[in-house]
Amino acid sequence: MEIGIDSFAVLMPGPTGRMQTPQERMDDLMAEIELADRVGLDAFGVGEHHRAEFIDSAPTVIMAAGAARTKNIRLNSAVTVLSAVDPVRLFQQFATLDLISKGRVEIVAGRGSFVDAYPLFGLDLNDYDALFSENLDLLLRLREESHPRWQGRFRPELTGQGVFPRPAQAELPIWIGVGGTPQSFLRAGLLGLPLMVAIIGGTFRRFRPLVDLYRRAGQEAGHPPEKLKVALHAFGYVAETSERARSEAYPPWQYMMSSLAKERGWIDASRPQFDAMAAPGGAFMVGSPEEVAEKMLGASADLGGLSRITFQMSGASGNPEQMRRSIELLGTKVAPIVRQASAARSAAAAPAA
């Protein structure tokens, strides 16, 4: 199983309570990507948002800088707001990024949890689904061929003009990022695209029927099992001890949830809620390295086998020292436990020689 970090590049209050400046956050983000690579993590994801408290409206630029500073780590969007971008431009950017990184980038296409991109780019939110389907269709065509003939509703026709450069990877990975919408799981399965499931609360187990739906749809459409990969994106934070992890992860989580609650009319987030989700069975991968490793393996079992788990650690980034320590623990303590257990499991599952 691969292990990754996803960052939404959000401005948070720092240890002194003062808000980070965009410059501070960008500098720290670069350091986080470098460190994640150095400690051997498999993937780093950069979000896309178009609002005041975020600095990631141009994620491919951030990823390019990250690619230039790293050697092995894979870099993915988390997620690309596919409905609000011209797929030709998107493909050009990722193909370029793929060359810069020597074949280490991946697109995760999804809706995103905010809708600011639609009015910003003059799109009608009612067209969201149609835009997503059409843009995905064109993106997949561009991955297959450099001179597609293609016609759609929202973008001028392609009559065989070339789209360049071609990426370094023979097949640039394109994941579908999903929340809980059944139709999205179905679509990803029918297209045989790998699935990145965001689970931000409740339990992992609750998503099993949706993941089963994805796998069955993929099988029925004739896609081989190795194409039907499932990854999990969940809230996570690691510290030396369970107590320390909880007490350090709670304040930034509470801060982010209460800003969202105000905007969306939810009730404010509370410590008991947080503790319930950090407890065994809950959807937060927060705790000591051993505890978090166990949660990851449990999540994989709950969802019928995961190829990657990415940690949503945007909140922790408000405190660069804690963020640094958490990334180190993830790479040096959690990853070895998880890799060993995964290897033992596949060895046990393999037929005797």
Binding site: F114, V115, Y118, L125, N126, G180, T181, P182, Q183, L186, G202, R206, P209, L210, D212, L213, R216, A217, E220, E263, R264, G265, W266, I267
Partner: protein, 228 residues
């Protein structure tokens, strides 16, 4: 007006067939919980029934799949489990005086701005006007779709969560009260549809786990503050 919903139900033949329009998160969750409560459930959408077959077989196994028209025609209670932004598409259906539950919420941060829902009126009042052949009851809007299964408890359990309902037709309210009870919650009848203005996102009962006493007290407070 505020009456305790429990016990007011039972005069007419008890509903046993639930129709769900929408096969998304909410539709499947309501379908599962309704089947758990002993109801027959049919699900339909604007798409051809075969398009949702696989989804329903995994997410609400046991539910029948049919066209939206057939779902409405064959049901005692219809649940509108679609995004509110698409409510106008429902107006082509004849609900034939059926009891219709409206759990839809207006959420501009996710669905964009819709001018008709920006005023004083509750979203249920706008939806009822668009669907004159429905006896609309606003309910199930202030509990999360996944909580609907996780928080359900048998009648009489101390601390059982309560859910509010409001609609202009008393018999329809009574039918929905019985349905809510069998889903695993104490129904609290808040009265006419206008009372549902107090159920909207951002107000105290939205997303809060309250028992009957607490919900009744909250609705009384909201009536003073928010109903004309």
């Amino acid at each position: 007006m505020l009456v305790d919903g429990t016990g007011t139900f039972g005069a007419a033949a008890a509903p046993r067939r639930i129709g769900v329009l929408g096969a998304g998160r909410v539709g499947n969750a309501v379908a599962r919980q309704a089947m758990h409560g002993g109801y027959e459930v049919a699900i339909g959408t604007a798409k051809p029934p075969e398009d949702i077959g696989l989804i329903v077989s995994f997410l609400a196994p046991g539910a029948t799949i049919a066209s939206a028209e057939d779902v409405i025609a064959g049901s005692d209670i219809v649940v509108l489990a679609i995004p509110l932004a698409h409510y106008r598409e429902l107006s082509r259906h004849d609900f034939g005086g059926r009891v219709v539950i409206d759990p839809m919420n207006y959420w501009p941060p996710l669905d964009g701005h819709l001018p008709e829902f920006e005023g004083e009126e509750g979203s249920g009042e706008v939806v009822q006007r668009a669907l004159p052949t429905a006896r609309l009851v606003r309910a199930l809007n202030h509990i999360g779709y996944h909580e609907l299964e996780e928080n359900a408890l048998p009648p009489g359990t101390p601390g059982r969560q309560a859910l509010a309902l409001a609609g202009d037709d008393p018999a329809a309210r009574a039918a929905v009260a019985g349905f809510i009870d069998r889903l695993g919650y104490d129904p609290v009848d808040a009265g006419p549809l206008v009372a549902a203005r107090g159920f909207r996102a951002g107000l105290p009962l939205f997303g809060t786990r309250l028992d009957r006493g607490e919900l009744v007290a909250t609705i009384r407070r909201l009536e003073v503050e928010h109903t004309p």
